[in-house]
Symmetry: C2
Subunit: 158 residues, 2 copies
DNA sequence: TATTGTTATACTCTATAACTATA
DNA sequence: TATAGTTATAGAGTATAACAATA
């Protein structure tokens, strides 16, 4: 039997393949989400907002009076993580926390006039960001993706 | 003019709406991705792998001899962040780093037998995870989502 | 008891600058 | 000088336990 030595030939950059991960949803989603995240961060930077604080602001504007537990639930984050977000929005006078007479444990959150103005301007910028990132996708494709995201999200508990 | 006092009525839990974020891709993707991430983490826990280390292992198995810069590029992460991942895979004897004669700066990465075995078992588990999470999506929908993720990813630099 | 908001903490992922050794 | 790998570090997101005030 002859002695064969295996020689490891490094692939050229263009030859590196990820086809074994072709059906790997997490991998594909992660890479796409990173791009979306980075572009969104740039988009929101002029408003000094991050994705989480922007989301919170929009939801408070849409649901005046909601409390932090409700907001955390809609945003799908843990309550402790919401505290710092709400703290900062309040510090910047974009929202107010009102103690309720009926239940003095909870805060009723609502936007200030400044908060509403900033939010509406930021929403326009985010529309541009969406258009930029989804430009290559057909309208049908966008709808399908949106629907799929909701279906995946809904399939959580089983 | 009569003095009207605005009373803030907190919404019931079921009434909290996020329709203002309906077309907000990042928000939808984040929520879906969180679900995928959490389920994947559970799936990979028995193998003591995380999403990043699993991805690295699969890619090294598919591209024997590639170096860390190439791997980081395919995975879309920064080189410094890859070091700890490769360190751990090497420590567990799942991969080896071979110094190349031709360029002593780079490592040629490849899986060991143990690495190949663990990877192949883990890939089967990940298939189950995919089936579980994508169960509600039609095959056409899955294809569209996969394609859309690649398109979004590709639209990065513009 | 249970719930709201809070503090403290820890782990992961991500990003950048600066270093070393090789080329 | 440029590149591969490395170290150190910092920021952001996420998750849990435990507490005070209130119901």
């Amino acid at each position: 039997m002859s002695a064969l030595k295996t020689v490891l030939v490094p692939p050229a950059d263009e030859e590196v393949s990820d086809s074994a991960l072709e059906r790997f949803l997490g991998y594909r989603m992660k890479r796409a989400f990173n791009v979306v995240q980075a572009d969104l961060a740039e988009t929101l930077k002029p408003f000094d907002l991050r994705m989480t604080s922007y989301t919170a602001l929009v939801l408070i504007m849409e649901n005046p009076g909601l409390n932090q537990s409700q907001l955390a639930a809609v945003m799908d984050i843990e309550r402790p993580n919401l505290v710092v977000i709400v703290d900062e929005l309040e510090r910047r006078d974009l929202i107010v926390r009102d103690r309720l007479e009926t239940d003095r444990r909870t805060y009723a959150l609502s936007v200030t006039l400044a908060g509403r103005r900033l939010c509406e301007t930021a929403m326009k910028a985010v529309e541009g960001h969406e258009a930029r990132l989804l430009g290559r996708l057909s309208p049908e494709m966008r709808d399908t993706v949106a629907e799929a995201m909701i279906l995946i999200r809904a399939g959580e508990a089983r």
